[in-house]
Structure formats: structure tokens, C-alpha cells
Symmetry: C2
Subunit: 341 residues, 2 copies
């Protein structure tokens, strides 16, 4: 049924050792022999048994990609970008979604990756020290996106700078009452929460620099869903002195906020300005001005760092600086515009 090294060896008239060496491209094999073996392998449709190679070498040449959720645009984008470099580099990708606290606990309670992958690319999960220790005890080389750990590769997004730039853009347009809706992990969520916090810090920084008084009533922290964004916007509209603009910590929050405004008969950006965060694939359609934090690039950089580390390179940390993408959801506030009624 299945073609083994022995079959190739017979056909090429060499030993199995030679077949193994010839096919893996190790040096110390004559050109003619190598060619003969390769031809035989091709003719027979031979491909080494992964299980056998893995057992013999102790290396799996597979990377586990672990995410809290697969169904959010952000994660799919990161995984896709990472997966492309991993498979280009000859690694299999073992997909692991830890979408509930039970799943997460179970995953770290036993050495589930041991012998299955050589490394793990962990996306947007703040790993506890026991969790990190568990992964390391399982012999995993690590690459983190959205979190950091000494000795592990990671990609760091300058979210404070991003949050600051978003708020700055609105300030520059003339807005003075600017709200912020940030992200919080929901109950039962396995998402980490540090980067969003940095976005909030950047927002506060910009306001302070502009000399605006800090106003806790302008800051909301909600789950990362469209509905939560819609609800937060609604709450903001009930304030004594409502804001004229919003920095949303994600595009999904922004989408929800836009829906609420539309429902209230308010126009974006004529009556209200919004800056999102992500540059979601659908941000363009709705004309959302947003912070692009190179989502695909996060995945790519992490995968590249992991591949390098698996080849013996020291852990590396990548850096991404978010940049503003101006579309139609931001404009000067009504009071500053000529011709406004």
C-alpha cells in the first residue's frame, strides 16, 4: 500500500541510509547517487512517513497556533498570515482554539502540545506564569502576539501611540468633548486585556496634552462586540453634555456606535465623528476612519520570529506602529463649520 524507504532503496540499488540522506539533502552524497535516489522516489511516489521521521528525530516540524477565538476577523487575519509563512517554511500548523475558560484550563492542565509541535504561536492571550511554564515544560518555542514574556519572541503593537494618534486626529479637527469606548474581556472570555488598556492610556495622554480636563464619564469599557459598542454609544448620548466625537478601541465597537447614531437620526461625520481601531475588512464600506495596526503583519512577524527561533536564533521582538487611515467618519465639529445651520 504505502511506499517505504526500503522500496526506494531497492529500486535505486542503494541502502536505506543512503535513501534517507539523499532525500533530505544532507551533504556527503554523490550527485549521481542522489539523483538516482530522487528519481526512484518520484517514480514510486514516495514520501517519508511523518510519524516515523518525527519519532526518529524528535522534531515534529509543526507549530501550534493558539487563539482564543477563531470567528473574529482579527484572529482569522493573524492566523492566515502566520499560516502562510509557516507552511512556506515547511511547518504544519496545528490549530488550537481556546474559546472558553474550561477549554483553556484543560489545555494547560495537561501537556497537550508535547510531541505534537515544536513551537507555539499564541495570539492575544495574557498567559499566566504557570501557563508559560507549562508550555516551556512541553518543549515549546514561543512567539507571542499581543502579549510579552522574557525569553519569548513577540510582536509588540504600540497601542499607546495608536490611541494617542486617534484622539489627536479628533483634537486637530477641533473636537473638545471626545469619548472613548475601550475593550474588556467578557465573562468566560479567554482574551487577554493589556493592549486595549494601552489604547485608553494613549487617548488620555492626548487629551491631557490638549489641556482638556479628564472626564471619567466619557470613558466606557465594554466587551468587543458590535452590540456592546451600540449600547455604549447610546449611553454616551444620554450625557448632560454629550461628546461630539468618539475613539473606539475596535472597529466592531465603532460599527455598533455608528448604528446607534444612525438610529438616532444623527449623521456621521456631520453630527458626530468616530475613529475606529483595526482597519477591519469592512471599515472601508462604511467609510470608517480608523487606526491600522497591521493585523496581518502581526501574524507574519510572529511566525517569522518563531521560525527563526526554531532554527536556533535568539528570541526577537517585532514592533508595529499603528497608523491613521482617514476615511469619511471624521470631520470638524458642527460649531466650527461654515454654513452649518
Amino acid at each position: 500500500m504505502t511506499v517505504s524507504v526500503q522500496a526506494v532503496a531497492d529500486r535505486a540499488g542503494v541502502s536505506i541510509s543512503t535513501v534517507s540522506r539523499a532525500l533530505r539533502g544532507v551533504p556527503g552524497i554523490s550527485q549521481t547517487t542522489r539523483k538516482r535516489v530522487r528519481d526512484a522516489a518520484v517514480e514510486l511516489g514516495y514520501v517519508a512517513s511523518p510519524s516515523a521521521s518525527r519519532l526518529a528525530t524528535g522534531r515534529t516540524r509543526t507549530v501550534a497556533v493558539v487563539v482564543p477565538l477563531l470567528t473574529k476577523w482579527f484572529f482569522a487575519e493573524v492566523i492566515a498570515a502566520a499560516g502562510r509563512v509557516l507552511s512556506r517554511e515547511g511547518y504544519d500548523v496545528l490549530l488550537t482554539e481556546l474559546s472558553t475558560v474550561e477549554l483553556r484550563a484543560g489545555f494547560f492542565a495537561s501537556p497537550r502540545l508535547h510531541g505534537r509541535s515544536d513551537g507555539a504561536l499564541v495570539v492575544a492571550m495574557q498567559l499566566g506564569s504557570e501557563e508559560l511554564a507549562s508550555l516551556e515544560a512541553q518543549g515549546q518555542v514561543l512567539a507571542l502576539v499581543g502579549s510579552e514574556s522574557a525569553g519569548a519572541s513577540s510582536v509588540r503593537v504600540e497601542d499607546r501611540i495608536g490611541g494617542r494618534a486617534a484622539a489627536r486626529h479628533l483634537i486637530n479637527l477641533g473636537h473638545e468633548r471626545i469619548a472613548f469606548v475601550g475593550l474588556r474581556a467578557g465573562p468566560g472570555s479567554t482574551l487577554g486585556g493589556v493592549p486595549p488598556a494601552e489604547r485608553l492610556l494613549g487617548y488620555r495622554e492626548a487629551l491631557a496634552e490638549a489641556g482638556f480636563p479628564s472626564d471619567p464619564g466619557l470613558e466606557h469599557v465594554v466587551e468587543n462586540t458590535v452590540d456592546a459598542g451600540a449600547a455604549a454609544m447610546a449611553a454616551l448620548l444620554t450625557a448632560e453634555e454629550p461628546p461630539t466625537a468618539l475613539v473606539a478601541a475596535s472597529d466592531e465597537i465603532a460599527f455598533g456606535a455608528m448604528a446607534t447614531l444612525r438610529g438616532a437620526g444623527l449623521s456621521v461625520p456631520d453630527d458626530f465623528s468616530i475613529v475606529g481601531y483595526d482597519n477591519h475588512e469592512l471599515a472601508g464600506v462604511v467609510g470608517l476612519t480608523t487606526m491600522d495596526h497591521g493585523v496581518a503583519e502581526q501574524g507574519r512577524l510572529a511566525a517569522e520570529a518563531l521560525v527563526a527561533a526554531l532554527a536556533g536564533a535568539p528570541a526577537a521582538v517585532g514592533r508595529i506602529e499603528p497608523r491613521l487611515v482617514v476615511r469619511g467618519s471624521t470631520a470638524p465639529p458642527r460649531r466650527l463649520r461654515a454654513g452649518s445651520r
Copy 2:
């Protein structure tokens, strides 16, 4: 470093055969022995080497999930749902994205899954007979979503019924000029194309039943992107006698169409009605009436059929009937509404 069967055997005072049997739950082991072995394994933190088990048994207990694209909501949703049942059933999931024709050709040219997975769950790719043969030669048990093949499990979505229901809804509201924007694989795309065609057939069927003349000018076929949807809508608006409603073969097409209408100053649904297809996670925010074809369920059903087939059950074909989800993007045409100016 790594704990082997031998270590567990020593600690439990039995042979390695007994350890293996006790841990895998095979019958013919005394309760006391089994417990002793299990305790020893836990104390030692032992977990069998996957490579070794795979080599010995010839089974990998992993399933390859192959998709044309990871970054579309549809695929992420299907994979997530499938992945949850697969890992619940103890299978590893090997992720394979074939996003270009080169990648696809390379994948099928060599037995890339051989010895890596016991089965493959293939999403939305019309596999050619050579491709199917390749997979079978690699010993893969198959489950297909969005395509069918004799002997393979699959889940069939009644897209003709769905397309018909969408058009019907508009007809019932009183529309008489109803356009259709369908899906086509773009250049270099690896997407299959049969299900979308069925949606078109259903649409035509509904129009014929209503006695409307068929009008090719009302039918467009484009790539499945928001931009293509926007462009198609724009083209429709230039017709001599423009339609008053649209059946979009995907929600992304519908999103694009809505953007075009908004840009043209037309109101949905006051001036124009739209029915989408998918029930995309963001369909709710924009108030899109759409056909829900149980995307997550497609993944779940396929995975369940695959797991069953891997356990020896005969191939099964699941069936999903799309259902209309009415939101705010559809209404009677202007001419039928009282109080319209």
C-alpha cells in the same frame, strides 16, 4: 527529560504492555492494575508520544481542514464550528489554506496529507476527479462542505430553495423588477462555484413562477467582495429601467450594494430593497435582511459525519435548508406605499 512508558511501568511495577493497555482503556485489565498504572502516569506527568503511537497504530487521530481562504467570515465560522467538534472528539486539526492556484496545485501534486491526517474536511472547493483520487490515494476519509462526491460525506445546502425564498420575499412585498448579483470565482481564486449557481437558479425559478419575464440585464455575476458588490449595484442603477430590489448571493455583495445606494442618496429600504445571503455576523448592525444558511452548522455537521466515518460509519450527507431572516433592508416598493410622495 521526557517520561516514557518504561518509567510508568517501573513505577507501577508492571510491564510496558500493561501500561499501554491500561492507559488506553482497552478491556482485559484488572481494575486495581489499571488504577495503579493511571496513578503512576499522573504522578509522572506521562503522556504517550503522539509520533510513536501514530507510527505503531498507523492512525494519526488528526483531521486536515482545507479551505480556499481563511480570512473570509464564512470560512472562519465553518472551521471554528468543525474544529470544536473535532477537538472534542480527540482529533488534532491540521489547518491547510490553499489560497492560490499554485498552492492548490502543489498540494495535490504530492501526497501532502499522507501519514499526517486520517481524514480531510474540505470546504467550498470543487474538487476535480484527480484531486479526489489524490486524497483517497493518501488514505483520507472525506467530508465535503459546499460540494459533493459519491462515497464521501458531505453537507448539502439547499441553495436553490434559498435563492427562491429570497426572491419570493421580494415578490411578496410587491417588487417586480428584482435584480440578482451572483458569485464567481475571481482569477487565481481556488473557490468552487456550484452553490452560488444554485442560488441564481432559485431566483430565476421564483421570478418565472411569478410570471415575470426573464431579463439577463438584471443578472450580474461578480467576485465575492464588497467592492464588486458596490460596482454591480452601480451598474444596475444605470439601467434604463432600474430594479427596485436586489437578491445578493452573499452578504458581502449586499454590503457593497448598500454602500453604493447610500452614496447615491437612495434609502434602503425606502427606495430600494436588498436581501443578502449568509447571515454574516455584521448583517445585524446594518439591518440586512438575509438568508441564513447555517454556516456554523455546516462545519459542525461535516465534522460529525467525518468523525463517524473515521469510526467506520458509512458516508453521510447532511442537509441544510436556508431560512429568511427579516431585518430592515426590505419593504414594499415605493409605488405601493401609502403616503409616499
